[in-house]
Symmetry: C2
């Protein structure tokens, strides 16, 4: 284990992309919901378009232009934007059900066994922009066991605001340097490091579809791992 | 299952007294810390005295006279009060360690197996006045698995304020009537019912020492159970 990580007591995780395959799951769910209604699309592109609205929507909260809203609310607004762009008229019940697709995403295969190993030595929590109920649904679907749910809803703001990472450490009564932020995105890790946390980069080469993911960290990190089983091994679990 | 409970999706639990034996644990820990230093006491009485400061301390937060403070902070102030009452001069490191006694409490024997059965059918969370790190420590010590940690720290206020119970339901994206509050204290359940939750009374006849606990609910409740295994059976788990 790198010496900088000897004091780490808790690991907190980005979720969308790092732990669950949002791109494949949203493409699958959109196709299943909309093809029978007669709509045709590159469903991976549909997932990308929906996700492209993610940062601008959260920026409304981060900038204080709207009060904190759970991610389901932002996802729904973003879905309406994407449907308007395509001029697709969908009934309300289909929109509601499709918005819940984010609750039905699958974890990458290494995640459940990797977390089980890591939990033998560390406290574990998601530190996602997803809200508590969404984290609970993904955990139940994929057999993940968390010690607590940290992240945007606890902090009432969105990453990469420093307060979100610091609230995660505070929830465990730990200093930021005792917490390792684990993510497949350099921007997340750079912000976590600025907030005082330790950082681990996870390679998810297929996050945005086959061969479309970050292959190495674009910022300084404390370690890089090829999935959570490799992370567990590097951390001596 | 009582018809009023058919829509229940999540169970939220009081912790001190309902799930863990605070009286026996605090008496044990105080004795172990203070007897070797030469102090003598009825250690069960010492636990009662410390606990007697609990509601007045939280009332400072509930009334808005002090900002929200985690229970460790209130417990420490209360410990200092109790030591002052007895004119016991304890070194700072002993006070710090003794204050952590609340992290080292044991669950009643039915709790871990009862929660495991209940979790097959319901979402589970503590809804305690204890903060997140304290709930995490007690869960790890006693092998309890939670879906999330709700309660005072999430709501930034203390029970029996309605907002604490309602924040627990909101965290699961549920209406209050879809959540069953489980507690060994009538006052907790009466407040939960006023906040719109369903209620289950757990008999803990030895909460304050042998034979010193509430034997039946002093308010209307949706069901009463003799421990969590009985609760699981009554709920069809």
């Amino acid at each position: 284990m790198p010496p900088a990580l000897h004091d780490v007591k808790a690991l907190v995780f980005d979720v969308f992309g790092t732990l669950v395959d949002w791109h494949g799951g949203i493409a699958r769910e959109a196709r299943a919901a909309l093809m029978p209604l007669g709509w045709q699309a590159d469903w991976g592109r549909f997932a990308d378009d929906w996700r492209a609205q993610y940062q601008p929507a959260m920026e409304e909260v981060r900038a204080g232009r709207i009060p904190f809203s759970k991610l389901d609310v932002l996802h729904r607004r973003n879905l309406d934007v994407v449907l308007r762009q395509r001029a697709w008229a969908l009934p309300e019940d289909v929109r509601v059900s499709l918005n819940q697709a984010w609750h039905r995403l699958d974890a990458w295969p290494d995640v459940a066994p990797g977390l089980a190993r890591l939990r033998q030595r560390f406290l574990l929590a998601p530190c996602s922009n997803g809200h508590i109920a969404l984290m609970v649904a993904l955990a139940r679907r994929n057999g993940l066991v968390w010690d607590a749910i940290t992240g945007a809803e606890l902090a009432r703001d969105y990453k990469p605001k420093a307060s979100v990472y610091q609230a995660a450490a505070s929830a465990f009564d730990l200093a930021p340097a005792q917490v390792l932020m684990v993510a497949a995105h350099s921007s997340d890790l750079a912000a976590a490091a600025d907030a005082g946390l330790r950082t681990a980069f996870i390679v998810r080469p297929d996050e945005h579809g086959p061969g479309r993911g970050e292959r190495q960290a674009a910022c300084a990190v404390d370690l890089s791992a090829d999935g959570l089983l490799d992370l567990a091994q590097q951390l001596g679990c």
